[in-house]
Amino acid sequence: MAISVQIYSNANSTSRTVTFDFVGDILAANDADFTNVSASCNAFYFKVTASGTQDNGVAFPVKLVRSLSDLVLNKQKQRMVNTANAYTDIRSMVIDYTYDYINGHAANLNGSGCTYQGPLKFR
């Protein structure tokens, strides 16, 4: 069961959703683990997706959150506040990721090295 945060645009009378799913899979990016008998190839993580696109029509990338230190801006910084501290709990992680989808962010925001991401398109 995933949870979906619904965002309603009063100006456009439309809704979008940001979905957080907790999954367990073998990640292709973990291929080095296959040669390491002491490591588990299975990973458990949050998979974050958004309905709709960025305001420039570009689809949002799927985001993986494997730890509370996987911050939304290039894994380096939180979005709502300029800090590199890990999220204090799952609730604050969900809120910060949702905020970032709604508002987008400039390239290298807060010195995170992130690339530009447009805000959620409602119209």
Binding site: A2, F22, V23, G24, N42, F44, Y45, R66, L68, I90
Partner: protein, 141 residues
């Protein structure tokens, strides 16, 4: 919703450990104000198992997880969600005493010392859910 299936050789049963994300109002538990500006909606995970204690067949507890310090009793803070889930699987297997044979003869064999195996993992599909449900109901009967 990931499920880890734990196969126990001793009783030839498959048990599951499930961890999933939920959202609800938990202000009385979490200490949030029900009418505060930040709202009282919480996002958290719940982990549970179909395993039962071998000593008295009682159910093992369900845990609420809000951060990586919400680990099983006696465990250190997890580095990530994979480690956290692995810790809970280990905790449940230990509490259920899976793989611990009462037979002295089997206890000396190499296979009985590792009498359980985490056999597979599945997520989401209704097909796997239904099969897990059936396995859990059979295991609890």
């Amino acid at each position: 919703m990931p499920n880890v299936r734990v196969y126990n050789e001793t009783d030839n049963r498959i048990y599951t450990v499930t961890m999933d994300i939920f959202t609800s109002v938990l202000d009385k538990v979490h200490g949030l104000s029900s009418d505060g500006a930040n709202g009282a909606v919480d996002f958290y995970m719940r982990v549970s198992t179909t395993m039962r204690r071998s000593s008295d067949n009682s159910a093992l507890p369900e845990f609420i997880i809000r951060d990586l310090t919400d680990v099983p009793p006696g465990y250190a803070t997890a580095l990530n969600f994979t480690e956290l889930f692995d810790d809970y699987v280990e905790y449940y297997v230990d509490q259920a005493e899976l793989g611990q044979s009462t037979s002295s003869s089997s206890a000396t064999s190499s296979s009985s010392s590792m009498g359980y195996s985490i056999s597979s993992m599945s997520s989401w599909s209704s097909e796997s859910s239904s099969s897990l449900d059936s396995s859990s109901s059979s295991s609890s009967s």
